[in-house]
Symmetry: C2
Subunit: 407 residues, 2 copies
């Protein structure tokens, strides 16, 4: 008799964004004439840069000719892209081509990486958190029971106003620590010094850090690390996830990469050190078949002079939206965080109303969609996320509507 | 202390195709002037059909304009492609759009599907077998120890000359049965009647069949099912995997799909029936972010009139190669199977030499690369795989060289 993975039963029924989508579509059915502005999900609106489009068209021409056609590519990604990444993203950080793995998305990598680890690792997440870290560990049986909004075996590290959104070291030692900075959903960052404390902590405890740097290109302030490998010792404790989704608008094109340094180890039952780079390589070679050649040529073009300028323009565009949001909220006396080194603005719900109540109020009264903080974890209650990924016009209109709400 | 997934240690060190690649590159280094013809790995050589290229270019134009730009697509795939699949591949078979899941490859799906099942399911594979079914179950801890060329907990069902390549029902009842027909590597097929026996067997024993139909478009004979859902009752016992890799040359583009009928269930600890369609949907929504919009438009074009003709032409081209291979082997008095409903030819090594010895001999004397049967499992020993995916010219030349070998 075929038996299911029981851990799936521990997953919460409602995935955050599907609940939001359902509420929005119900509202739109009832109010077909109202223009709803979505500042909820982290999806982009700017088109793919011209340099990427041109490169992908050239690649398509190659694929249409038997002389230049390419079949299966390397599971790890083409060397031309891995080299461009090393040269452009990790200059002077000592990261090697063999440590870069191209994939079809940071979400996939964050999810699939759990394959490498024993069920009995203790995981720590910051709270609120991007749900994928948690759900993929629930599926793998590492989370325990869901009681009072929390999984019993998971260490929750609050990120709140009270601790200035700086995660405190946990007294209970985790084996695997998920850190995402610039943070999703709070939009807050860690300085090099603050991140160094986590690298040291991981080293001291033989833990590993899963560092999600998907938003690193939005950093505007100095002394905020764009890669965890800017921190001394990080190559011995951290895997880093990066993505082209938010910079080059690749959410619908699908390309990302993961860095697994060869100096990074975990332990087996006999306390022998096992190189994680080898394990991830084996996992990818067995369960993955590489990213579309077309897509990889598109990603490579991001690193040309034209591509870099276009990316910069995209980011400036979105960060201008972030400023519009922050300014509007300030005028309305709503307290907000993030938005300076990140496309996410994390506001405190006015009058301490619940985050889902604020969601309903915003949808009903301003026809604006955001994401309720509670959906990201218990410490997200009382907060609300707005994203800077809309068009400038919509962002201005959304803030005007919010400003004229009765709060 | 972070602990690795111990099951990785049970994986065999050498992956079949990497060993082949290593031997070939060593040979080429020593013999830089010899032209090696590769009929080994199942990679295609014909370029992407024009209809697909045109559709992908149109999609790129859409992506370059903010009015027609698309960000995140549905994790399950766009409805336009799912609908085209239902209308073209499953006409009159009662498969619903919600039962189709688009992905970036059948290898990924075959690998990721194991997430849904408890560690303690007993798996059965045919032997020889596509290594991914086995390795992904090793990683999940279902295979046991590797002793004498076999994993102790896996049921091996031989596919050999002796049983006419028709898998016998196992006396020990498996929970999960992997079947691939037209078969990789043997190139052999099952009739509807023969497959029906397996569907009935699975139903009787509450087992599930993972049906890999990646080569269904190569079927030329009547009464050979292109989909397991042509068999009555299969929708209650089978998941089906299909791919555009070999038909439209998408090995480097990456697009496939998996069918998980809503009538398909597995059991939980309390013997309650759980719908696998829901579980797979949840898995994909959590660990996957959909396939490139560009790619999906390319796949859709396969179902246009022009696309269908181009695919047919591709398949005819490869099947003509298969005929060339079969004819050449016959002239050389080498016994061979497959090649009629499949791009794979499975030959018996002459004089009973081992499959790796035949590999070395073929590489050294004819400079032709094939795949040693032993690499696909213990029952593959004494056999050797040649594929029809080369160019016609190379296939003819390879067979001429083989014919002039001393055997």
């Amino acid at each position: 008799m075929v038996k299911i993975n029981e851990n799936f039963k521990d997953l919460k029924e409602n995935y955050l964004f599907s609940t939001v989508a359902k509420k929005v579509s119900e509202f739109q059915e009832k109010n077909p004439n109202k223009k709803v502005i979505k500042l909820g999900i982290g999806d982009v609106t700017r088109p793919i840069p011209n340099s990427c489009i041109k490169a992908m068209k050239r690649a398509l021409d190659e694929m249409s000719n038997s002389k230049t056609f390419r079949g299966y590519g390397p599971e790890q990604g083409y060397e031309f892209l891995r080299k461009a990444i090393v040269d452009n993203e990790y200059k002077n950080l000592g990261i090697d081509i063999d440590e870069i793995f191209i994939s079809d998305g940071a979400k996939c990598d964050c999810g699939n990486i759990v394959d490498l680890f024993d069920k009995d690792n203790k995981i720590a997440i910051t709270d609120p958190v991007y749900p994928v870290y948690l759900d993929t560990n629930v599926m793998a049986g590492r989370a325990g029971e869901y009681i009072n909004n929390k999984y019993s075996k998971v260490i929750y590290i609050p990120l709140t106003e009270e601790n200035n959104f700086i995660p405190d070291m946990s007294k209970e030692i985790p084996d695997i620590i998920y850190l995402c900075f610039p943070n999703n959903p709070t939009g807050t960052v860690l300085t090099k010094e603050q991140l160094k404390l986590w690298v040291d902590y991981a080293k001291e405890n033989n833990s590993i850090i899963m560092f999600d740097a998907a938003y690193c290109e939005f950093i505007t302030q100095k002394d905020i690390p764009k890669s965890i490998y800017e921190i001394e010792g990080a190559k011995e404790v951290a895997i880093e996830f990066k993505s082209y989704s938010k910079t080059a608008g690749f959410t619908g094109i699908r390309c990302a990469y993961t860095v697994v340094p060869k100096t990074l180890f975990a332990w087996d039952k006999n306390k022998e050190k096992i190189q994680l780079n080898k394990l991830w390589n084996r996992r990818q070679c067995t369960k993955f078949n590489g990213v579309s050649y077309i897509t990889q040529r598109g990603a490579e073009a991001i690193y040309t002079k034209e591509g870099k300028n276009e990316i910069k323009e995209n980011i400036n565009y979105y960060m201008n939206n972030a400023r519009i949001i922050l300014k509007g909220l300030k005028e309305k006396n709503i307290v907000a965080y993030g938005g300076i080194n990140s496309p996410y603005v994390w506001l405190k719900t006015p009058n301490n109303i619940s985050s889902w109540d604020f969601f309903d109020k915003l949808l009903l009264e301003a026809n604006v969609v955001g994401t309720p903080g509670e959906g990201f974890g218990p410490s997200g209650e009382g907060y609300f996320r707005l994203t800077a990924f809309g068009s400038k016009e919509n962002t201005i209109e959304a803030m005007d509507r919010i400003k004229s709400m009765k709060i």
